[in-house]
């Protein structure tokens, strides 16, 4: 039982990470129906930026631990800056790589997104080199144990941040003017335009928020794993996108659910089958669920308009 609970915790922590990245995927998809392949790389860029910002603040990978309010302050500052920078990068990507293609053939923006993904990887490769780079572990990491089950501060951080982000996003989208504009643009771009919504800026904001979330995820993942590498975005993005689709793409709670589900499935596969089969099991479950519910777990089953 303790093992099962421990694996559940492991799965939820890993799943929280997927969910956090999936939120950005699902937002962008919801509004422009684009599989933004570069999103995973924006996430990696986020962790690279965090390392750079920490270095500017004098925090290096030497293993120094900064506790108390100072640590929290640094963490907050780094998260905010990384989110801001990633958001700007996201907006720039949208402006220069995607906007022109909004009415182009369906696959053109997809290929552009793949191109942008390569570009970002190339930039990171030349910035910090081809190897894994260390992420400073400057926050204390107390572990809490109960009945043979351990949970540490980092795992709590992942889960708390991802759930908080989801709730914040949900509130934002349903309660603010910009959020409503986003939903309207997602429903029908032309109609939204006619209603006086500035669709261009709404889409830009969507990319900003989605990419900023990726920046936050970059920090969380850096704290959690302690290293990062320029190619990490692919695997993370793949799982996050799977999570978004599993939950019903375009649906924020669905992205969360999908993320946790994939994390838990992975943990249980590693425990009860074997680590090498995790991807096979995850994707088989994905296929199975989509066959039964073609629009994902929480996705709306829209009948086609005839």
């Amino acid at each position: 039982m303790a093992t099962f609970l421990q694996q559940l915790i492991n799965g939820i922590a890993q799943g929280g990470m997927y969910a956090l990245i999936a939120l950005g995927y699902t937002m962008v998809y919801g509004i422009v129906e684009l599989i933004n392949f570069a999103h995973g790389d924006v996430f990696t860029l986020g962790s690279f930026l965090c390392i750079a910002i920490l270095a500017l603040l004098g925090v290096s990978a030497s293993g120094q631990v900064i506790g108390g309010w100072q640590g929290a302050l640094i963490a907050l500052l780094v998260i905010l800056l990384a989110a801001l920078l990633c958001g700007v990068v996201g907006v720039l990507i949208e402006r220069f790589a995607y906007r022109r293609l909004r009415n182009a053939p369906r696959l053109a923006p997809l290929i552009t997104a793949i191109g942008v993904s390569f570009l970002l990887q190339g930039v990171m490769r030349n910035w910090k080199g081809p190897s894994e780079i260390s992420f400073p572990q400057f926050l204390p990491n107390p572990t809490f144990s109960y009945g043979g089950v351990h949970i540490d501060a980092r795992e709590l951080l992942v889960v708390v941040v991802s759930i908080a982000m989801m709730i914040a996003l949900q509130l934002f989208i349903y309660n603010t003017k910009l959020g409503k504009a986003m939903r309207a643009s997602a429903q029908d771009r032309d109609a939204a335009q006619l209603m006086g919504i500035n669709v261009n800026s709404t889409i830009a904001w969507t990319f900003f928020i989605g990419s900023a979330l990726a920046g936050v995820a970059g920090f969380i993942s850096g704290m959690y794993f302690g290293t990062t590498m320029f190619t990490n975005g692919y695997q993370a993005g793949l799982k996050a996108f799977t999570a978004a689709v599993l939950g019903g793409i375009g649906n924020i709670a669905g992205a969360m659910l999908g993320g946790f589900l994939i994390g838990i499935v992975e943990a249980m596969t590693a425990q009860y089958i074997s680590d090498q089969w995790t991807n096979v099991v995850v994707f088989s479950i994905l296929v199975l669920i989509l066959v039964l519910r073609p629009s994902g777990l929480l996705g709306e089953q829209l009948p086609e308009k005839v």
């Binding site: 260390s134 943990a267 249980m268 590693a270 680590d275």
Partner: protein, 408 residues
Amino acid sequence: MHRPLIIVVALAVVAAGCSQQSSQTSPAGSVIKIGIELPLSGADASIGVPTQYGAQLAIKQANEKNLVPGFTFQADVLDDVVGSRHDPAQGAKNVQTFGADPAVLGVVGPFNSNVARAEIPLSNSLQLALISPANTNPTLTKGPDAIAMRKDHPDQIAYFRVCTTDDIQGPVGATYEYTKLGARKAYVIDDNETYGKGVADEWEAQFKKLGGSSLGHDHLTSGQQDFHALLTRVAGTHPDIVFFGGNSSTGGGLLRKQMPDAGLGSTIYAGADGISDNQFLQDAGPTADDVYVTVASVNATKLPAAAQFLRDYQAEYNQPVGPYSANAYAAAMVLIHAIGEAVKGNGGKAPTREQVLDQLRQTKDFPSVIGTFSFDANGDTSNRIISIYEAVKGKWVFVTQQNFTGAH
């Protein structure tokens, strides 16, 4: 329709093809080319490029010291990365490109075992010497597969390697950890790649033979970063040693780093040369202590030549050596030496590839920066010295070295 476009493309293809030819100089000149065939871009670059530098340093020094009078050596470097990782098909094409250039008398490479599997039959067919600085998988030179790979010239091997194979490294490590560290219950993990799985299998077999028990053997999924679930499973079996077969880049360091989270902080962690680098120490951070690794070469500090090499490398490239730089240096040096001997045997004229191969096969007690070695009938190095290192306070500290005597 756009026919003209097709013509442009077709011409581009031909032009791309011919561009290679224009650079081909006839062997009549005094230039001898040494091919270097490694993964040099993408994520592989971190380990491929320092290896390339090792070989290039050897070529540069050979020219400076005029090791083969009348001839200058020139490096011809080809990358085998396609898309984002090393590609056997590209490796094979590179060997064919070298094969088409008569000035190339031998090749240092490849780095990866699956690339080697594509290149060994080719180099055998072309009778072009291929010396790998890094392939450690035993089945490349021994066993039915290896013999089948020499199909065109079964008795004339053309593939050599300067590194000791995993069937030696694995057992030496297992023996040390069983007898000296007292480990009895092991959990084996590998990265499910040729090298990692190979060395893990060898280690596990020896460990069991000695009387130890294997509690499980898991393979990682490529690209995985989170090992908490796997480690929780491992912790449930209460091992006293975790052996990892693989590289730092495939999760060796991260795995160690996450072990304390699962309550495995005080469990011994052991691996082979794939995690014997600085990358591991950096990834694992403070958890790197009590990690034991085997390295398939003599302790560099005990070899003056090695110390000199380290200084030269640092001076030339202004960066620390990679784990295979010295091997590449040794591989290039043994090739240059063989070419020199072949030149002598050919009356001072440029030798043929066969003559170079003949000399290589006869390599005996060649002194190098990784120790003195000969090539055996399979092209394997006679150097069977395995060093054992322990990580202490963020540094690899030499523990002992053993000369593997064979029986396992």
